[in-house]
Amino acid sequence: MLKKLRKNNQLKKGQNILPVMVSEAVKQQFPNETIIISALTDLLFDATYGKEWVVLTSTRVLIYTQTGDEELESYSLRTEYALSTLADAKAENTVGGGILELITPDGETLRAALYSNTHARRFARLAHSIQSKVQKKDSKQNVVPEEHTKYCETCGFPIPEGMESCPACSKKGRTFTRLLEFSRPYTKSLWVVLLVMILSTLCGLVAPYTSKILVDDVLKPMKNEWMLAPLALALLISYIGQNFLSALHGQLVAILGHKVVYDVRTQLYARLQELSLSFYDKKQTGSLMARVNQDTNEVGQLLVDWLPITTESILTIIGIGFFLCKLSWKLTVIIIIPIIITIWFFKSIWPKVRVYFHRYLETRAKISALVSDTLSGVRVVKAFGQEKAELQKFDEKNIDFRDAGILLEKKWAIYHPISHLLIMLGSVIVWYVGGKFIFAQEMTLGDVIAYSGYLSMFYRPVQTLTRMANTVVNTLSAGERIFDIIETEPEIKDAPDAVEVNDLKGEIEFRNVTFGYNKFKPVITNLSLKIAPNEIVGLAGHSGAGKSTIINLICRLYDTDAGTIFIDGHDVKKIKYADFRKHVGIVLQEPYLFSGTIAENILYAKPNASRNDIIRAAKIANAHDFIIKKPDGYDTNVGERGVRLSVGEKQRISIARAVLSSPRILILDEATSSVDLETERDIQEALERLVTGRTTVVIAHRLSTLRNCHRLLVIEEGKNIEIGTYQELIEKNGAFYKLVKLQEQLSQIRRV
């Protein structure tokens, strides 16, 4: 039963192609039509699961619904719409899914089909195609790129976003080979390490054999007393040798491992810096930090600890196996059965114990998360008097943790004695069967003693191997996550024909730009505007209208989905990225200051500027006076481990930073947070000085800023609805007027 379900869940490659049955039906019923595009949905019209096909032909929209059994795949026409009766089409997003809506020229909305989020992108594409057909637009222009969740062909599980292949089914060997690639510069050292390891293992295997010789040729027959000394010496040397070589091996491996991890970490970090903002949007900062910090450490541990231990264990087992067979292959055959049972035991019980181990680790992580959360929010806890409730929350997690720990110990306590018992069983068999063989003159006493010795050496590496097998696999996943990032291509990179622009005038043009952070939910639709050099342009509008998005596009933090942005007449995609960023300066709403001194923060965009330049920039930004009041002046440490600056101070420092970089194009996202009047005045003055003599695009919140702009663009729902100077727009009595009135009312309330 299970197998069957899996197969059905898989999105087979052919599943997105229109089934023959449907295409035949279309040909039959509408013989002159050509099929342009079709989409499969997983919801029936009553929002229950089932299949429907929506087909766009040259004159119609046809909807075929599933009839009968799912296995049979038969369809019948549910409804049809003639394109001549439609004016528009829209893929309306709901929560968890969407509705395909067809709009008539009278403005009436017809619901055509329902779908779940799985098919959202496909339907957005379909709606777009219908729209293009109906409005007779060139449909090639604004194509929504095809993206859907990929499913692994082997196991049927979805492939995590951002990854190309299924991590569970991928050849672990591949990651391993990639890791080895990193160690290629150190091949010589690798050979040395291998040699030392083999020698060390050999030394370890000498001991039991020496005891065989001792017993058989010296002690039992009471002859060859002269051999005692050299044998003892040989034993001593082998022990010393093994210890020494083992230590040497450990050292060499540690050095090698750390060097390799250093290389991996460097490459990873370098790649992270290269990748574009859209990559960071999709991933959580926390998980990225985990990759750089934890995953690289895990890979390091793999190379430094686990791999050498595993290889050593394998070598030891092979060596011991050889000697066991040499001493008595008959005994080895007999002993194989208990050995297999023991190995089976290790292999099967260990995963079960591991579950408890994981539970222990997880409950521990939950408790630390809770503690960290509560203590950092202690102000809120106290303000609302929720100490008791927090205590209860903590208690629940604490109990879970305690119980997990106790359970783990219990299971562990069972595992150990049983494994010991099984090992002892082996020993008993050796003595009994070996004894019998001695009497049968097939083995000597020395043989049996040596055999017992080898057997006791045998189990440790086996145990290690079983435990290591899983750990190694898990750590390889860490390696995979790292390589996954290293292999990601940055979305925004220089086109091969990218040019350097040296003398930028600062003219910006948007031509029919469409963009959305999610490809099927555009924030800006078909926007066109032109900004002259040195013009100060203000963007006004409600929150969510698309102002910040326009700014992000100008900075080329994202690339447009459709349409082009021109800077000084050049397509922004054709300008060298690094060069471009030099000419664009940005002052954000939330000024982010890095860990470092104030001077370092101001210097951030122009690290080679002189101290004089820093002071000058700070004076222009009205920041110098408060900076020198601080005991460390410009050398004051700010950011994570430094002094806390007030919002106004941070703002002015970030303005100083922008002044210093003296960009041709300045982007200003005004802060809405309130500061005291004097600081407000200082900031306003600083901003006025900053925007002079450069092309400025400002998301304005202050009335004074709006008034100072040469032109204002009012944005609503991603479209530019009003343009003009402040005075003109106020007189127009339109959307802008309403906005200003609203703001005035708000500030009045604030004053009260």
Partner: protein
Amino acid sequence: MTEDMDRYTQYIIDPAKVKFYRNANDTGGLAMELIGSDGIKEVYPIIRPVRVFPITAPEEYISICDKGNKEIGILQKLSVLSADQQKLIRHELWLRYVMPVVTEIVDIEKGPNAFRWEIITNRGKKVLYVKERNEQLTFIGRFRIIINDVENCRYDITDYRKLSKHSLLELEKVI
């Protein structure tokens, strides 16, 4: 930058046009005579020198502020002043910026909650208590360390490589 902006950046004090002296009451304060851009001599009976980059450039960019802590101008380099003028300013800075330079670390001892440091500085001997092993030690560059003690006083190891062997041994206990 427009001419208007240059106004904000005319802050460098011309060393030829300025004179520092001890003020009349000699309460230890410094006074200054400055010939302004208009040629008129202005007298400031009380001025305070403030380091603009106290840690990275202590002898450059000295901001001269008046009684109300408003900046009058900035001296770009102390070294361009005459020797006795330099002495006056340096003395004033010596009084205002108390961050002794560590010349020798006699002993570092671990206590229950803090570390007890016994050091010799350019201002004399000092015993201080530092919380934690090295959380309160800030590295500036690779060889300079600023120590922050429990009383929020700071001490400067300008280059730990130049310390004596004994000092280094003691220092290794905490870094």
